[in-house]
Each structure stands twice: as C-alpha cells, then as structure tokens.
C-alpha cells in the first residue's frame, strides 16, 4: 500500500494502482482518451500527463505509470497545464471542426476536454488529414477523419468481445482504424465500441442525425431481450424511444450491452398493436374495449381460464394475471411457453447461482446445452474473463463459435454419465468449478447436472434466456407438466400475455385473448387482441437469470389505445365480475410483494440451498440444436425492428444471400 502525495494531499493507494488511479482516489480529474478502466492500458493519447517526482523532469503519462511509495504528484502545476494544452492542440491538428454536424456533439470527450484543458485556439495553418470512411456493418457508422487513434475499439474487440476484427493499419499520420477488408463487425457486442469511442469516429448508424443528447429524456430501465437483465438507460424524445444505452452495473452488465438490447428499440414503434381487435367471421377487425370485454365475459369462463406469460413481461403483469385467475378460481398459469416442464419445486435448482460476477472466478466450467454467446452475450464475456484467468471450458452440445478456447464433448447428453477423463480431472483439481445448464439441456440433463455439481462441489447454474422467466417462476407461473397441463385442462379462455412462441393449436376451441404489444405470432393466432405496453412503456419488476430483482421505469406512453397490462387485467376482472383486490399500481405491487417478499427488494433473491441431488440420475437425449435460431430476431420487438432485420439478413445470412446471388 504505497503512500503518495497528490497536489499536497497525502493518500494511501492500493498495490498495483497507477498514478492516474491515485489521482482519482485523491479526487482529481485527469483528462484521458485512451485509458479505460475495463481495457488494457495503451498509453498512446498522452492526455493524462502529470508531473511526478522523483522522475525525469518532464510530464509523465499517469495511466501507464505505477504509483510507488513517496511519489509527489502534481496535477495543477504550470507544467501540467502546458502539457495538456500541447497534447490537446496536437490532437486537434487533424481533428475536423465539424462538431455541429457530428452525432457525438454534446457527449464528446474531445469536445468537453478541449473546452476544459485546451488552448482555445489553434496555431495550425496547414491542411488537415482526411481519411476515407470505413464500412463496419449496419450498426456502426464511421467518420474516420475524426479518429484520434486511442485504439479503445481495437482493444475492446480483442480483449472483451474476443473477436479480433478491428485493427490499426498503416503508421504515423496514415494510421487508420478498420476491420479486415472493411467487413462488418460480426459479433453480438459490436456496438459497444460506439460508447467507447471518445470522439465521433464511431457513431450509431441507426441513430445517425436523429437527436441531440440534451433533447432526450433519460429513463433508467432494464433490458428484456435476454435474461441477463442488463441495466440500460432509455433515451426518449416525445413518445419515441430514440436509443438504449448501457448503465454501469458491475454485478450485471459491467458497462456493455448486446447489440440486440441496444438496437431493438426502433421496433417499439413498428407493427404495434394500438387498437382492440376481434376476430369476426375469421378476420381480425377493429373493435372497442367494451365489445372485447363483453365477448370474453359472454364465454362465461368461470374456472376455465388460463394465462400464459411471454418472455418479456414484468412481474406485475404476471401477478395481475395470477390474481385475476385466482379470483376466477383457476390456477392455470404457465410461463414456459415452449412446453418445458422441468421441476421448479426448488428455485435454486433453476437459478444461476454463481452470479455473473462470480462465474469470472470459476476455474473449470462445464456448459451443457447452451449457446452462451447468443443466449446471454454478457455472460459469455464473463466466461471469457474466467478463461483468461486460466479456466478450462467444456461444452456439451452442437458446435458454436466460442470466443475462448473450449473443448466440445459432442451432442450426446449421455457423456455426462461418464465424463471423459480430461473433464473429470479438470473438475477434481478445480478450486471453483461451475456447471452451466442451458435451456436445451434442462429436459435431459437437469438431474444429472445437479448430481455432478454435488459430486464435484461445483456451483450449479441454469442459464435462461427469457427476461420474464425467473420472475414467472417466483410467482408460480409453472405447472407440473408445463404447457401440456394447460392444454389438458381445455380452458374456455386463454390469456396470452405477450406469449408469441407458444403453440396455439391445442387451444383451437378456446377464446384466445392476446394481451401484448406487437402484431406477431401471438396476435395472428388470437381471437381478441387487447393492446398493451412494452417494457419501455410501463414500470415493472424484472428478475434476471441469477435471481436479481431489478426495477425498470416507464420511459414513454404506449401508442394509441394501448394500455399498461395490469390495467387491462384489472378491467377484465370487472368484466368477469370478480374482485382482484387492487385498484392502483401501488396496491398491485404491495399485494405482489406481500405474496412474494423477495420481489420487493432490489438485489439477489435468496432461493435457499440446492435440492438434494439424486446420485442415480442419468442424462439422456441429444441436443440437436439450440433454441435460438437467429440471435437478432428472438422476440417480437426485435422481429419488428428494421435494424435487427437488417443485422439478421446481413450478418447472419449474408453468406447465404451472396451464395444465392451467384
């Protein structure tokens, strides 16, 4: 713990800290461009110069200088001020003064720091350098003339994403950042380089010239495109969500989000259900709320009513549906729309118990039936970190392109019954082994995986990919036999809460009521459509796959006649003549928390200990495919989004299209 003096103030800094970190601990702001907490240190922008004694009599780059005992650091001397002015002047030599037409304007590090640390005017009279634009795919817009060569994007794709595709070609003044042959950046986290870029060289292509940061209303929200529950900020103007940006949460998403979380928001304004529709003579026709409610009441469902929750609904909606059904005398609620029926008597057995931050510490990881890169890109980032620390990774399931060395053990789940020696060895010698079970393996290998976890003392993790899953399970949205039980009960009315992936076939005789926000599969099959709010248009509680309860706020109003889901269910209760016991959102929440107290507290829910493992359990079956066929089109919002459709066509099926053209 070296002691250093920063501007006369003596502080103790942790071992291994840099001078820059020491200055930050002392509360001094150090300007920087290339330095980033989560990336390796490059030391090439020179903006963080400070004066350090003892040392050479010249300013030093604080980001790359270790803090040592007895250093005297000055951040306020004339030398430092002149050095910063000089560096800034050099950086601006080749940087165009096109701030008025630059999308980074208003949230640009270079702009802000040149105001604070720059000279105010340039002495440069020669021609500026210009760089041709580089294509980086449908998400990243490039204006490479603005690039200041901080190489954050290069380091991000190499270190965090693990897909080495951005590089710095040529040298000196001619240095250019590009992808190989200007191919699109093809991974699920590519757009994070937009946030990392301290200038306007890499900006968001779909958001180009849409809005200025100061016009936007910022709402704290939770991403629902996967079960990671990334913390996001929705920036909205008027009734439209303009963009989604990551918020920093070291326990969940650090400061990254997947491209789908970021760019599906344009789907919020497309293919929306903004009117009540009813099927009349086989065709969906616009109708009024009254008509719709009367039609449902006329069916006299009584106890014969079921509710199926979709992948993106909040806990409040599910609880409102549960309360409504309870009031009717039914308990036919289910959230696993695709028909899975794993045992949920102990929620710890279907939870990601390591936690995301904890999986980084694992030193042997067995992934069973999960395409982690697509099902939870940010968990994949954590696993990559673990591998960098020396963890061994084994995967059971069809091959997918990992971003770290991993050994594939085949598609047969039976391999778990007699683990190959290398795997058993690695797990025996591991201090913190972990097993990750994906949706594809829950059916055939749940019991065996639990037994293995018990045998090796490994952390047991289930990786879901529906944002609503853990919340639904906590609220009891699970039947013993899954969807089969619901179908067997032959309900007269089926409420689909944004459930688009469910099979409507068995409910041919029932009145199918779709309460959702997008005209997708569910709406096509429905008899009555009640337009509801998407995640951006309602307050709500979400529980991610590690059991973390998080609260999202409402960013905008739902379009047209659409209402927040709970109000629809509340009105439906009146139409059916039952009492659900709440009249406001606050009452609803209070009732929900009274029933499931864990939902009232943000943070990890406590599910208790893992169930006793059945040592005789056997794994059987084959994983022929993972549930996600197309990363960019997994939910109705993404399917409605033009950006996601373009990504899907260009990045995933680009090869197919080119082949078809030939």
């Amino acid at each position: 713990m070296p002691k250093v003096t920063v501007d006369g103030q003596e502080i103790e800094v942790p071992d291994g800290a840099t001078v820059l970190q020491a200055c930050e601990l002392a509360g001094k702001e150090i300007p920087r461009f290339c330095y980033h907490e989560r990336l390796s240190i490059a030391g090439n922008c020179r903006m963080c110069l400070v004066e350090v004694k003892p040392g050479p009599p010249k300013p030093q780059a604080s980001c790359a200088l270790p803090a040592t005992e007895g250093q005297e650091i000055r951040t306020d001397s004339q030398m430092v001020k002149t050095a910063r002015e000089g560096v800034m002047e050099f950086l601006l030599i080749n940087h165009p003064l096109d701030c008025p037409i630059c999308d980074q304007g208003g949230e640009c590090d270079l702009q802000d720091q040149s105001i604070t640390y720059g000279r105010g005017a340039t002495r440069y009279e020669e021609n500026k350098r210009a760089v041709t634009e580089k294509y980086m795919g449908p998400l990243i817009k490039t204006v490479m003339t603005r690039c200041i060569h901080c190489t954050r994007c290069v380091r991000f794709s190499e270190e965090i994403a693990g897909v080495d595709e951005i590089g710095a070609l040529y040298r000196g003044e001619d240095m250019q950042i590009t992808t190989y042959l200007e191919q699109a950046a093809e991974h699920e986290l590519s757009a994070n380089v937009i946030d990392l870029c301290p200038v306007g060289a890499l900006t968001s292509r779909p958001y180009a010239f849409e809005a200025r940061p100061w016009e936007l209303k910022k709402t704290l929200s939770i991403d629902v495109s996967d079960a990671v529950g990334s913390n996001i900020r929705l920036d909205s103007r008027g009734r439209e969500v303009m963009r989604a940006l990551p918020r920093i949460n070291d326990d969940v998403n650090e400061e990254w989000i997947s491209d789908k979380a970021r760019y599906q928001v344009d789907g919020l304004t497309k293919r929306r259900l903004d009117k009540v529709f009813m099927r009349k003579r086989g065709k969906l026709q616009p109708a009024s709320w009254d008509e719709a409610f009367k039609a449902i009441a006329k069916a006299k469902p009584g106890k014969s009513i079921a509710a199926v929750a979709g992948d993106m609904v909040d806990c409040e909606t599910m609880f409102a549906a549960k309360a409504l059904l309870k009031a009717c005398g039914s308990s036919l609620i289910e959230g696993r729309q695709t028909g899975m029926d794993y045992d949920v008597s102990n929620l710890a057995a279907v939870n990601f118990n390591s936690t995301f931050a904890g999986i980084e510490q694992a030193d042997a990881i067995l992934i069973v039936g999960s395409h982690v890169r697509w099902e939870a890109p940010l968990v994949n980032v954590r696993i990559r970190k673990a591998v960098k620390r020396g963890a061994k990774v084994f995967v059971v399931g069809p091959y997918w392109e990992t971003t770290y060395p991993a050994e594939f053990l085949g598609e047969e789940l039976g391999v778990l019954n007699k683990l190959p020696d290398a795997v058993a060895e690695a797990f025996k010698n591991a201090g913190k082994p972990a097993i990750i079970l994906g949706g594809a393996a829950l059916k055939g290998a749940h019991g065996k995986a639990l037994a293995l976890a018990h045998e090796f003392g490994a952390a047991f993790n289930v990786l879901h990919f529906s944002a609503a899953r853990m919340g639904g399970l906590m609220l009891g949205f699970a039947q013993k036999g899954g969807m089969k039980d619901i179908a067997a009960a032959k309900p007269k009315v089926v409420l689909s809460l944004g459930a688009d992936e469910m099979d409507f076939e068995p409910f041919a005789d029932a009145i199918k009521v779709y309460i959702g926000h997008h005209g997708d599969k569910g709406a096509h099959a429905a008899d009555i459509i009640l337009p509801a709010a998407s995640y951006a248009e309602k307050d709500g509680t979400y529980v991610n796959t590690e059991g973390r309860v998080q609260f999202a706020e409402k960013a905008v109003f739902a379009p047209g006649d659409a209402r927040e889901d709970w109000t629809i269910l509340r009105a439906l209760a009146d139409a059916l003549g039952v009492n659900v016991g709440f009249d406001s959102f606050a009452e609803l929440q209070a009732a929900m928390i009274a029933e499931v107290p864990a939902l009232g507290e943000e943070g990890l829910a406590d599910y208790g200990a893992l169930p006793k493992a059945d040592a005789k359990a056997k794994a059987e079956g084959t994983i022929s495919a993972y549930p996600i066929k197309d990363f960019y089109l997994t939910n109705p919002i993404a399917r409605a989004s033009e950006v996601m459709q373009r990504c899907s066509a260009e990045l995933l099926h680009g090869g197919d299209l080119a082949e078809a053209a030939e």
Binding site: D164, I166, G167, L169, Y170, R171, D174, Y180
Partner: protein, 222 residues
C-alpha cells in the same frame, strides 16, 4: 510516404494466390523461425514469416516479391492468429511490399544527408530509365521508391536495391550498377569508391592518425 494500401481483393488475385503455400525450403525456414519462440508465443514469428512469404512470392514471380492478401491470410493461418493483426504488421513496415514490384526494387534515400550529397541526381538517373515512384517499369525490371534514412549517412547518397546497399553514389556510378543488374550481373555492393572499404574517410584518416598502425595513447596530449 508511399501508398501502402493492400492490392485490391479481386477474384483474379484470389485465383492466382489463393492456393499459396510455403514450399519445402521456406517451410523449413518458417518453422525454424517459429521454434525460436516459446510455446504459445508463435505469433512473435510473424515478421520473419511475412518476409519469407514475400521472398517466396518473389521467387515465383521473378521479382523482389510482395504480399497479396491471400498470402497474408496464409501466414495468419500458419500462426493461428487473426488476419487483421498480420495485416497491421504488414502495413506498418515498408519493407513489406503491399503491391507487386519489379525484379529490382530501387529504394533511393531522399533524407537530408543524402539529399545534400546529391540524391536528386540519383532520382533523375532512375527516371531516365523509365522508372517512376511507386510504379513498376514497363519491362518489369524496376520499381522506384523514395525512402527515409537507411542509416548510411557517412556514405551518402545511397540506394538499396533488394537486399543490398550501394553507397557513395553519383549518377554515373548508379547508372553502372543498374546496367550491371539489367545485364544479370551482381555489381559490387557497399561503397562504390575504388580503394575504399566501408565508411572510412576518403583518402585515408583525417583524425586520430596515430591510431592507424598501433594503439596510441592520446591522453597525455589533451
């Protein structure tokens, strides 16, 4: 600085170079270069490998050699590293030719000492033979490049042709060298002044003369 962008990725380029592989002798040299580095650090051999690849391309095309994209991809594959990282290296060092060159790559130094000693005349000489900067001459024999300091300032002006330096040049001496190369002969490398061995002063030493024959202790004379 010369344009260092890679030759365009065309179907013709792929057809010509797509199947590039090290031949036996180059593979042996490449593996030897890789073996110099510890296990897991094979990537460190990227520079020698690019050089070897360029030389093999040179042998196949009877030129100094260059690095077509498929060859760069082959090297990346050989070392199991991302191709963008190899391309970064290849575009950084001007010793790697990114475009086809002639049989003789004439690199004339144009930095201050050489310029003061008459490198402009050397460029004139080259131009008279139909060379122009950055292009292959019509007969396929020459490529002219202006380069920065090669560290031979004591024997300026100088020219590097493929692997050899030719120093103490005048337009006439350069002409003679180029004639010899065109005729398929190997001219004398290094300094072109008769009787001079390397970078010693012309006409014998001008300082420390007593040191010529034996070690002389000057300290008493200070």
């Amino acid at each position: 600085m010369a344009d260092r962008s890679p030759a365009p990725d065309t179907p013709e380029l792929r057809e010509r170079w797509g199947a590039f592989e090290f031949n036996e002798s180059y593979r042996a040299k490449a593996d030897k270069a890789i073996a110099r580095y510890p296990e897991g650090r094979q990537k460190s051999a990227v520079m020698p490998l690019l050089d070897l690849a360029q030389r093999q391309v040179g042998e196949e095309t009877n030129t100094q050699g260059w690095l077509p994209l498929p060859v760069i991809e082959y090297v990346a594959d050989y070392l199991d590293m991302p191709v963008i990282r190899v391309l970064e290296v290849a575009t950084f060092y001007f010793m790697y030719n990114m475009k086809p060159v002639g049989k003789y790559h004439v690199q004339v130094c144009g930095t201050t000492p050489c310029m003061l000693r008459g490198s402009d005349g050397l460029f004139e000489t080259c131009k008279k033979r139909g060379m122009s900067k950055g292009h292959v001459s019509e007969d396929g024999l020459w490529t002219l490049t202006e380069v920065e300091c090669m560290g031979n300032c004591a024997t300026a002006p100088m020219v590097q042709i493929n692997d050899d330096n030719y120093e103490d040049l005048t337009p006439e001496r350069l002409d003679a060298i180029l004639d010899a190369l065109a005729a398929g002969e190997q001219p004398k490398t290094g300094t072109q002044i008769e009787g001079k061995r390397t970078s010693e002063p012309e006409g014998g030493p001008t300082t420390l003369k007593d040191m010529v024959d034996a070690n002389h202790d000057y300290r008493g004379e200070w």
